[in-house]
C-alpha cells in the first residue's frame, strides 16, 4: 500500500474520554470497517467513487460465519477474512472475554462500515456522529475498532 495517501484529516485536539469503570464492568461495542453485513441487509454501494459512508447494524446475537464480507478494496486479501471473520470483526473473541469476565458485557449491537471512503465529509458530518450517538444511548462504555 505504498500509494496510500497521507490523510488530510488530523484530529485536533485529540478527544479523550476516560474509561468510567473497570473493563470488567464495562459495556463494550465493536466497530469494523471491513464492509460486513448480515445476509438480509443490502450491500454497500461499491460504485460510489467517493465511498459509501453508510453503515450496517450487526446484532450481537449473529452467528459470525453468516456475515457477508463485501468490501470493494483490491488492496487486501479477502480470502483470509472470509475464512475467519474474527480477523477483522472479533465478535467470537469478545464473547470469550465476556464469558471470562474480562469485559462486563457486549452491547446488543455493533456497527460495520465499508472503509474505502475517499471523500469522508458525509461520514464526518452524518454517519459517524449518528453511530456515536447510538452507542452513547446504548450506554456503551468502551469501543474497539478494527480496519481491514
Amino acid at each position: 500500500m505504498k500509494s496510500y495517501p497521507f490523510s488530510r484529516y488530523t484530529i485536533e485536539p485529540t478527544p479523550c474520554a476516560r474509561l468510567a469503570k473497570p473493563l470488567g464492568e464495562s459495556r463494550v461495542a465493536l466497530v469494523t470497517t471491513a464492509g460486513l453485513r448480515t445476509p438480509d441487509q443490502g450491500d454497500f454501494d461499491r460504485s460510489n467513487k467517493r465511498g459509501d459512508p453508510s453503515f450496517r447494524e450487526i446484532p450481537n446475537t449473529i452467528e459470525t460465519r453468516l456475515l457477508v464480507e463485501s468490501h470493494r478494496s483490491y488492496s487486501f486479501d479477502h480470502e483470509a477474512v472470509r475464512s475467519d471473520v474474527n480477523l477483522a470483526f472479533p465478535l467470537d473473541r469478545f464473547r470469550e472475554l465476556e464469558s471470562r469476565g474480562v469485559i462486563g458485557a457486549l452491547n446488543h449491537r455493533h456497527f460495520s462500515f465499508m472503509g474505502s471512503i475517499v471523500g469522508p465529509r458525509r461520514l464526518i458530518d452524518e454517519t459517524a456522529p449518528q453511530v456515536a450517538r447510538t452507542l452513547a444511548e446504548d450506554r456503551v462504555d468502551a469501543v474497539f475498532l478494527t480496519p481491514v
Binding site: M1, T14, C16, S83, A88, R93, V102, L123, A136
Partner: protein, 81 residues
C-alpha cells in the same frame, strides 16, 4: 482508506463520551490523524488481528489493545510486539 475511516469513527465516538481503542495497520496514517488510542500491528492489510483461525494470537492482540483503554494521556500509538 480503511485506516482513515477507523480513525475518524474513533474520534466521533470518543467525542460522544466513550473510551475507544483501534487497531492500526498503517502507522503513517494513524500518526497523522491522531486518534486517541491505537495499537499498531506488523501485519499486512486484511490481517488486523494477525491470522485467521488463530484465536490465541487474536486474543493477544486484543488484550494489548484493551490495555491501552485506561490511558488518558492521548494520543497513544503503541506497537504490538
Amino acid at each position: 482508506m480503511c485506516q482513515q475511516t477507523v480513525c475518524l469513527l474513533q474520534a466521533a465516538i470518543e467525542r460522544a463520551g466513550m473510551a475507544t481503542v483501534s487497531i492500526s495497520l498503517l502507522r503513517e496514517v494513524t500518526s497523522v490523524i491522531k486518534p486517541p488510542r491505537a495499537l499498531f500491528v506488523p501485519f499486512p492489510m486484511g490481517y488486523p488481528l494477525g491470522a485467521p483461525n488463530d484465536a490465541p494470537l487474536q486474543h493477544q492482540i486484543i488484550a494489548a489493545a484493551l490495555g491501552l483503554l485506561e490511558r488518558d494521556k492521548v494520543p497513544v500509538l503503541e506497537e504490538f510486539t
